[in-house]
């Protein structure tokens, strides 16, 4: 899932790939990783989308398809449900601080690495070091 998050993965297929029934697969996955496979995949996809929204100027629709969602509607709905704001709002909010810093003379690499939200969902809390 970590590698193929953008593919059209479905739970049946994932369960078959490890020779488990659908129900058993979901149960074992949850016991092992603390969340359902569906939720895990969704998180991977959203995290990737968040990074692309923050760090690129690509269209929201393009990003949505790129990370494995099949419609902009379900992407935006899921994004808002989990993060409490739309992809566009997230992009504006997270790009504002580093861009303001760069305009004020801070080197781009420093601004992008340090001036970014510190508590986003499921994200590694460690920051990039100098």
């Amino acid at each position: 899932m970590d590698r193929c998050y953008a593919d059209a993965l479905d739970i049946e297929w994932l369960a078959r790939s490890v020779n488990l029934s659908r129900a058993h697969f979901i149960r074992s996955f949850r016991e092992t990783f603390g969340e359902t496979p569906h939720r895990y995949l969704q998180r991977r996809r959203l995290e990737r989308a968040m990074a692309l929204l923050r760090e690129t100027d690509r269209q929201v629709t393009e990003i949505c398809l790129d990370v494995g969602f099949t419609s902009l509607g379900s992407f935006s709905r899921t994004f808002r449900e989990v993060l409490g704001e739309s992809p566009r709002e997230y992009r504006e909010r997270t790009q504002a601080a580093p861009r303001a810093a760069i305009r004020a003379g801070v080197p781009g690499c420093i601004a992008m690495a340090w001036d970014r939200p510190s508590s986003t969902f499921g994200e590694d809390k460690r920051r990039t070091r100098l």
């Binding site: 601080a97 810093a101 003379g105 801070v106 690495a113 340090w114 001036d115 460690r126 070091r129 100098l130």
Partner: protein, 148 residues
């Protein structure tokens, strides 16, 4: 092909105190003083050299992870952190001026074949060398001429 060193970093414990020292005493100019969300980004440059910034950086997150802050501060205070060498056109004059301002020197201006050289400390423990270079090209004395 690399083209320039644009930023060097030096650890300081208090940026206002650092400004007072580097700008108020040594004679650097403020290049950038920007309040970022997470920190104050403060750089200075030698007058006339705006393309080479010295960043006065506080060792705290996000520049340094919280667990390493004490270690870095300890290194700086003991004079073990990396610093820099500056050149001057009047080493003795600058020395007199800085001593009068209370700057701590680790070595008085000394005449050497490569110029007049001295050493000082910033308020945090960083060692800085200041040299008035001898006319170029510098010819290191050979062992025999040094003995005579």
């Amino acid at each position: 092909m690399l083209t320039a060193i644009t930023h060097n970093f030096i650890w300081v414990f208090d940026q206002d105190e650092a400004l007072d020292f580097y700008v108020g005493k040594l004679g650097f100019e403020v290049h950038t003083d920007a309040q970022m969300e997470v920190m104050r980004w403060l750089t200075v440059n030698v007058p006339g050299e705006p393309d080479r910034e010295l960043s006065l950086l506080v060792p705290q997150p996000p520049a340094v992870d919280a667990d390493s802050v004490d270690e870095v501060r300890d290194f700086v205070a003991r004079g073990l952190a990396a610093t820099f060498i500056v050149s001057t056109d009047d080493c003795r004059g600058d020395y007199e001026r800085l001593v009068a301002q209370g700057v701590e020197f680790t070595e008085e201006p000394t005449e050497r074949f490569y110029g007049i050289d001295c050493g000082l400390r910033d308020p945090f423990g960083n060692h800085i060398r200041m040299t008035e270079p001898a006319p170029q090209p510098i010819e290191p004395p050979s062992p025999s001429s040094a003995a005579s």
